[in-house]
């Protein structure tokens, strides 16, 4: 039987995950429990769903989204700017949106991430719990580092900035080839098979690869085109 841990605090959850080999955190579950998840079916789970905050509030002039908030919570909140709601809508299925958490999408660091480019463009800072207790980590650093063993507690976003997003996927429920966000804080993208770009230079230098859906040449071309399109819209 699969080991499932439900601790009484974030601290204990963090410690549990460190002591149990291969254990992963479980919040929404739509990624961890899905077919083809990188998490093996017998992998121990540390359930943090009851421990992480879910509220969405304004704090110190920024939007703060609790790690347990789902995509749909974000869409339903009156505080959230439209560009971030649009980004959440990129996950086409409403039932998945009601289950998948924003922090879970960040932590998975998928190269077809729905949210990471938009959140990067929103100058997002993660509030995490780790070895040194609670601290803030810019999302850009988190992504650059390839994540960490910490628990994401909340996301703090510059909701006053302007962000445009453009996701290229064959259909609404397919993996994206390219997901680009352009905004006040710069140009960001994730490219299937290649990873993340943090500016236009990255996008140009990135090593694009062929995959089952698209060729490298197409992804390279369309990523550039999306940036141009978004810049034109932005004026």
């Amino acid at each position: 039987m699969r080991q499932i841990f439900k601790e009484c605090s974030i601290k204990k959850s963090y410690e549990r995950r460190r002591e149990v080999a291969d254990a992963v955190y479980l919040a929404g579950g739509s990624g961890v429990l899905a077919l083809k998840s990188p998490v093996k079916p017998d992998c121990p789970l540390v359930d943090i769903s009851a421990l992480v905050p879910k509220d969405i509030v304004k704090k110190d002039g920024r939007l703060v989204i609790g790690a347990g908030a789902t995509f749909q919570d974000v869409i339903d909140s009156a505080l959230v700017p439209s560009w971030l709601k649009d980004a959440c809508h990129l996950m086409a299925s409403m039932s998945l949106r009601m289950q998948a958490t924003v922090a879970g999408n960040v932590a998975s660091l998928r190269d077809d991430s729905y949210l990471i480019p938009a959140l990067l463009a929103g100058d997002t800072i993660l509030h995490v719990y780790g070895e040194e207790g609670e601290k803030d980590v810019p999302l850009a650093d988190y992504v650059h580092r390839g994540g960490c063993s910490c628990i994401i507690l909340a996301l703090s976003i510059d909701d006053g900035c302007k962000v445009g997003i453009h996701r290229i996927a064959r259909s609404s429920s397919s993996h994206s080839a390219v997901n680009v966000a352009v905004g006040t804080h710069g140009v960001f993208a994730c490219v299937k098979g290649s990873g993340f770009a943090f500016d236009e230079d990255d996008l140009g230098k990135m090593e694009y690869v062929d995959d089952i859906i698209d060729t490298a040449a197409y992804k390279r071309y369309v990523a550039r085109e999306c940036v141009d399109l978004l810049k034109e819209v932005d004026g």
């Binding site: 429990l33 769903s49 086409a92 998945l96 259909s171 429920s173 993996h175 197409y218 071309y221 141009d228």
Partner: protein
Amino acid sequence: MITFTLNGRKTTTALPQDMRLRDALYAMGCISVRDSDDAEGFTGSDIVIFDDRLRSSNLTLLYQAEGADIRTAESLKRGQELNDVQRAMIRAGVVQSAYNSPTVALILTWLLEKRPNATRDDVREVLSSVFIRDAGYEHFYLAVKLVQEMRRYGEYRTPVSPSFRENLEYIGKPMDKIDGRALVGGEKVFVEDRVEEGSYVLDILRSPFAMAYIKSIDTSEAEKLEGVEAVITYLNCPDVYYMQAGQGNPEPSPYDRRLLNRKVRHVGDRVAAVVAVDHETAHRAMELIKVEYEPLEPVFTVEQAMAEGAPLVHNGRVSYVAGAPDDLDEYNRTADERDGQVIYQFPLHGDIRHNIAAGAHGGIGDVEKAFKEADAVVEATYQTSQVQCTPLEPHVCYSRMENGRLVLHCSTQVPYHVRRIVAKVCGISENKVHVIKERVGGGYGSKQDILVEDLCGYATWLTGKPVYYRNTREEEFIANSTRHPMRLTMKMSGKKDGTITGIYMDVRANTGPYGNHCLTVPMNASSKTLPLFAVQNMYYDLNTYYTNIPPTGAYQGYGAPKGYFAIMSCMDELAHKLGVDSLQMALKNVVEEGYMLDILKGLGEGREGTVVPVGSCGVKEALRKGAEMIGWGRKEKSDDPDWAIGKGFAMIQQGSGLPGLDQSNAQCKLLPDGSFVLLSGGADIGTGLDTISAKIVCEIMKVDPSKVAVVSGDTDSCLFDTGAYASSGTYFSGNASLNAVKDLKRRMLEEAALQMGQKAEDLDLEAPGFVVSMKTGDRLSYEKLSHDALAGDGRGAIVGTRSFATANSAIPYGAHFAQVAVNRRTGEIKVQKFYALQDAGTPINPEMALCQMYGAVMKSIGHTLYEDMVLDKDGRCISADFTDYGVPMIGEAPDDFKAVLIDVNDQYGPYGAKSISEIATNGAAPAIANAIYDAVGARVRSWPITPEKILKALGKI
């Protein structure tokens, strides 16, 4: 112990806490919670309301339910009474194969609780979670509207469809589907619901190689494992050659396989089958099987298979049941016994030593002369890809022994072919096999093939154990039937006035490892397209090649969608070359009623075809009406300069069954109380065939539907029917029902004449269930008529029995129009408008017919733009789940989507009906391809038409 509230009641379960909630709920009796994607979170069949939110129960572990409030579709009914959403769904015609209909009813009920005035956008939002393959999405909006009307006005105010034939009461009118209540209510109607506690499972060890000989296989350790009942391999399986296509006997497909073969021919091919007490044991047993392979160089494409010296997929001994060539011994000189045998029932122009499984060639007139004398000639090659039917209910079978007989609970389109083939494989006579067709949770052609029943049935016959088998979703992709990929080279010539003078079609089909439908699918690419053209010079060359891709077979539309992609794209190219409007070219060259179809002579199913004139034909009306609806000839301007808008169309036809080959039988009984049971051999696969039979009884017997029950697809109780394929249901099985009911009426009148002391010719039937004398006005109730016939001194039960077979065709026609927007910079495509206009003769179930058109169009939009089975260099399918494969969801549905029934009365169909849904898969590919060309000038000649291909055609990458 986990405690939660389930459908309003506190529930405690001791099931394992790490069990998936879906499995737990099903085990707890909530059978409406289905699994269509093995926890991919894609199809939504497993959605429940969890603490007032939609949630995938497959992506939830049981422990997470602790303290939760969970609702499933079981909460919707009050006693026997459906809720208003369920009732409206039936009325709207969306309850078809219905594997996830209860879940959709639950979701829409939840939506209407939150938003009683839910808008179209609200419905679109909640249905974003659900994959619907059969009925499309359009009438779900209508169902919600009906609920709102009923709540507001106490009645439905929006018609669910037009009505046809004013003189008839039931035929051509919307009427609740007779099995709709069971389907949307979540009753135990599918195969999985029949599996008894303690049944064994069957699991299959599959080949990792695209082609290899099994040098050795050692199953001894696996067999020793406790809980393993049997391990079946090529060494101990019956030495019986057969094929898995459910076609009429003798089949136009070669017998080229046994249950398990010494040579594996695709990644996923059967290597060993394990019968065990549970999956865990079976999987452990499979790990203990030692197999040594001799890998062989595979071939994947037609081009590779055609190449001189190409590796041979089949190199066994060839034989013929009839029509063997004189040089057969010489031909077999190089046969390799490890390859087994290939047995042709009759010659199909196959040449397995060159990887050719079948071929056909023929035509009319002189195409070469036509090309020479033409003002313009277009020659182009079109390529279609391998796509999958993706029924929500995967292939499944439950077999058990009962009193020395093998009983199979099947999800099949062909119960009688299942009986014949399983009996053959097991080496028993057909009376030892009882096939029960359960409700079919989606077939679309793939359940025309006997892909799992052969092995599951044999496993039970061998072991005596009840055995359950169910494909995983991955197995659906790698070991199932798919559309044959095809390469079609077209040559078409014309005159400046728009007259098409010659058409040549070179069809090269890829049948994969086995020859299921290897002649007939490619033949359909010609036989369902060329007869639409009133052209004097037409010729076709068809060749089908064996390769090592995953298996192919039947898929709704058969070869026609591929043929239409090629021929209507080519016609559009010719029209542009000649400077002629393509719609005018279509109208000028399309057949009309009475046109003699000489081209059919060579286009039989391996035998000589029957030349017949065109019968009822609504194609011109469909073309004209569709053109008017879409504003043909008017160039639409986009507000955004990056997006260009274009229009395209395709004229289309299909068939209604296989005249000269198919036969259907039915029987109708008058019961002692004056009600009726109709026994139909036809297999209702969700399309409403049983409702057609019921309506026929109601119409002739003048009783309401509550007096009629229909039993179908049970090989013990019903008479033979070829099966539900080739668009045969309405035409063949419907006509058999009509004939049987007419026969019953005749017998009832004869008996009544004796009971009433009158002449039968003076009697008629009268609502609500009387025989009435037109001379005296005397009346005899059906109840008394039947009671007296069944009395001790009566003349016996009154039963009507008839068959239907014919040489006449009832061909459905139509035209599909598309308007697309294409982004010049990114290649993105959006289908803005799609209008499907079809002549289905008299649509007996018009609301269901519309839904089938929407569903079929969505399938074909899928294969046109999104869906693709991608193989790696070793032949492994790397897009073997829904997300990677890319089926269209509600987000891909056209913004403006209309299905229109053209009113035409056919002379041969029951009450003038023809087939409806297969034809609707034929139009989207050419209509969309032509619209894309119209929009941006990019001619893409291969499926799927992706943004990347458009940009390439535009020279941007």
